[in-house]
């Protein structure tokens, strides 16, 4: 018996959710100019100050076949903000259909966004299609993370079947700069070391801004977390970090250490501060 046949999934109804946030710089302060929340998607703004934090939340408790979830955040000129998710996003076994998630992030001139969602946990036989699109103004920058965990390790679950499409597109002034069209399906799970090679979780971090080469050496110095294989590269106005691990916890610690270097020690969103989420 596999785990998914013995453990009931908390939510199997199709859900819809849309949360959209717009922030604008207004006389030295950042103001919330638009907040739309529909159905199962919420956006929480625990602090709206110099560097506001936006926390997206899917109240349906997870995703399954046929679900639709959309998050969007637009930062006006000069706005610097951090956005994250309240919990790890779970994609449950899909009896039929695919869950679709759209994330649209815009950063205005001179702005900066740290998009630091918590990890996505894919249950065996999950079917998830997610697109994250980031649009940067000519001199805007961003730091964007994606972390994925295959199966619930604490329950000894191994993922054998999967339909996971996770596309990340970053554009500057409308021109495509960075594309990660990850498609991880059943056949790929069974492939060798060029694909996962026994890893059960992985992360990709990308930073786009001018003059990033300087951050490469200090970033590489912290890529030594035991149980994690990680590497960084700087090219073409991008700084990328990829990491793979057997277990979610060391991966999370490695990400936190890398973020600390890239964000020059800035405090991580509270949800990221060493909780043992998603294990």
């Amino acid at each position: 018996m596999t785990a998914h046949t013995t453990i009931p999934t908390p939510q199997m109804q199709r859900s819809r959710g849309e949360a959209a946030v717009r922030l604008r710089q207004d006389g030295g302060r950042v103001r919330l100019v638009d907040l739309r929340q529909q159905d199962s998607a919420k956006a929480i703004l625990p602090r709206v100050g110099a560097v506001p934090e936006v926390v997206f939340l899917n109240t349906s408790g997870g995703l399954t076949g046929g679900d639709r979830l959309s998050y969007s955040l637009h930062l006006g000129d000069g706005v610097r903000a951090i956005a994250t998710t309240q919990t790890a996003e779970r994609a449950y076994r899909a009896a039929s259909g695919t869950a679709r998630v759209e994330v649209a992030l815009g950063v205005g001139a001179g702005g900066w966004l740290d998009w630091l969602p918590q990890e996505t946990i894919l249950f065996d036989a999950a079917s998830l299609d997610r697109t994250t699109r980031i649009d940067l103004a000519p001199d805007a920058g961003c730091l964007a993370l994606e972390a994925v965990v295959l199966g619930r390790h604490a329950m000894g679950e191994t993922v054998h079947h999967l339909a996971f499409r996770d596309r990340r597109e970053i554009r500057r002034n409308g021109a495509l700069l960075h594309l990660e069209p990850l498609v991880l399906e059943t056949a790929a799970l069974a492939a060798g070391q060029a694909v996962l090679g026994g890893a059960r979780c992985f992360a990709s971090l990308v930073m786009l801004a001018p003059g990033l080469g300087d951050a490469l050496a200090p970033l590489r110095r912290v890529l030594d977390e035991p149980g994690v294989q990680a590497a960084a590269s700087a090219y073409d106005g991008r700084l990328v970090l990829r990491a793979m691990a057997q277990d979610g916890w060391p991966l999370r610690r490695q990400i936190a250490r890398a973020l600390s270097v890239l964000r020059r020690g800035a405090v991580l969103p509270r949800v990221w501060q060493y909780q043992e989420n998603g294990r």
Binding site: L182, A194, A231, Y235
Partner: protein
């Protein structure tokens, strides 16, 4: 005329053509250094995964799109750059594309598009009038063949073992080429996370023979 076109294609993909493929290992040098490829079977598995889930499939799709009449090669070059996962992988595809285009231009006396290799190759090969699946299959074969000869020298493996691994990949290459010839650039995808990470780790490998 088909024999003439085929000879041109084979010449462009030959290791003697100064595209310089021998200098790039696509991250495989790191895997060999880690002890991840020790036998012809390891090599075949690595190459099969890179072809099927990684740059093989991606280049096949970019090449297919670049062979199309009226292809927007500038947009395809942008796409090809955007999808590269690391500095060395970007270098591998752009330097080879430039060297290839430079040689074709010198031979034909006509301007050739300088772009990442599959795009530059597709732009040049479009005029040959050969079936797309055939061009793609031979392109992927040259990519795999180059890595086989690197592995034969540095794993090391016997020449015949290396060629047997390459021959065993022929059905996969033919089927990938057939599929890619029907797909558009929206079908670009990758699952080769391990190959990408190896290429990134290669940047800090102590002793390096290959540029990638």
């Amino acid at each position: 005329m088909t024999a003439d076109a085929l000879m041109t294609l084979v010449q462009w993909l030959s290791p003697a053509f100064p595209t310089g493929g021998f200098a790039y290992s696509h991250g495989m040098e790191q895997v060999i250094a880690d002890g991840g490829i020790r036998s012809a079977a390891d090599l075949e598995a690595w190459l099969a995964d890179v072809l099927r889930f990684g740059a093989g499939r991606q280049d096949a799709i970019l090449l297919a799109a670049s062979l199309q009449p009226g292809a927007d090669h500038a947009a395809l070059a942008t796409l090809s750059r955007a999808v590269q996962p690391s500095a060395e992988r970007l270098r591998e595809t752009t330097e080879q594309g430039e060297a290839f285009a430079r040689t074709v231009a010198a031979l034909t006396g006509q301007a050739a598009l300088s772009a990442p290799l599959p795009v530059a190759f597709g732009a040049a090969a479009a005029g040959l009038g050969l079936p797309a699946a055939q061009v793609i299959a031979l392109y992927l074969h040259a990519f795999a063949s180059n890595l086989v000869s690197a592995a034969v020298r540095f794993v090391p493996l016997g020449q015949t073992e290396g060629q047997a691994a390459l021959a065993a990949l022929h059905p996969l290459i033919a089927s990938l080429a057939e599929t890619a010839s029907t797909l558009g650039p929206d079908a670009l995808e990758s699952a080769a996370l391990g190959a990408d990470l190896a290429a990134m780790r290669h940047e800090t490998l102590d002793v390096r023979i290959f540029k990638t």
